[in-house]
Symmetry: C2
Subunit: 177 residues, 2 copies
């Protein structure tokens, strides 16, 4: 029924991923679909709805990837970070759209944000540590994405430091403190 809408959103996402935000225009999207721009408005109220749909898709895909990564992992935080970095590397512009600017929480499917965050909370074992880890991970991928780090060995070393700092304490470690 609304399968046309799904096709449109998927095409929009490809356009965004390949050409960045500047490439995501109603005209360009219509061209890609070999229709005319005004036809899009039969399926979507406006451009904001299109961007929101891309963001929701992104969160759903990320949630699945994170859940899968943490499941049965020996080191859940390392597994989470690895999955996170893959997601960002594969869809940098979608990630930007998901994280830059305010999040339209009221328009997101209920529970989606929490679901996406849950694997990290599990991997860190503590809400405050999860938040610190989230800051670290988001900052690192953002800076990497924008080419902010020299290409020496220090970036991987920095990742390792962060993992060490925010990993949920193991039983053995807890006995020692």
């Amino acid at each position: 029924m609304t399968s046309r809408r799904i096709e449109i959103v998927r095409a929009a996402r490809e356009l965004l991923e390949h050409g960045g935000p500047a490439a995501l225009t109603m005209r360009g999207l219509a061209d890609q679909l070999q229709i005319k721009a005004p036809s899009l408005y039969k399926h979507l109220p406006d451009k904001g709805a299109l961007e929101l749909a891309i963001v929701v898709d992104g969160f759903e895909q990320a949630a699945l990837a994170f859940e899968d990564a943490v499941l049965d992992a020996e080191d859940p935080l390392a597994a989470f970070v690895s999955a996170y970095r893959v997601f960002v590397a594969d869809h940098p512009h979608v990630y930007r759209l998901m994280t830059e600017g305010p999040l339209p929480r009221d328009d997101l499917p209920p529970g989606l944000e929490e679901r996406t965050a849950a694997p990290l909370v599990q991997a860190t074992g503590d809400p405050a540590r999860a938040r610190a880890a989230f800051g670290f991970i988001h900052g690192m991928v953002s800076l990497e994405m924008n080419g902010r780090f020299p290409n020496d060995g220090n970036t991987e070393a920095a990742w390792a430091r962060g993992l060490e700092a925010f990993r949920a304490p193991s039983v053995a470690t807890e006995l020692l403190t």
Copy 2:
């Protein structure tokens, strides 16, 4: 001689800070200065040069603030973070311009980037730890700026965790390990 250019850049910065990136247009800037838009092009080649000038100003101001904060501080990392958060809170849109997208390194005054980063390297005592701390700090301020965190107590707790994790080891601590 080029004092007019300085006035223009300052007005542009105010426009950006108060109205966000959408408010920074050549027309709006001209209005603010009570001149006509084409006159701006006698002082600046194009809009890119204007944005670059704002970014350079931002780095210089940040470098000064960071250097001053770390100087003689009992806890240099805490002092650095505090100064960093103040800078971002005071100039969020300038900070965005400075950090989103690639950095035009070749057009920056030589040494400015290094100078801005130096206080953090000093406060962490190690390049890899500095990079991890930078990731953490940038991620935290970005997420705070975009209203990504619930307004519970966990955000300040997360800041404290990060400080603890990336602080340069004190002599006393080193003797214990």
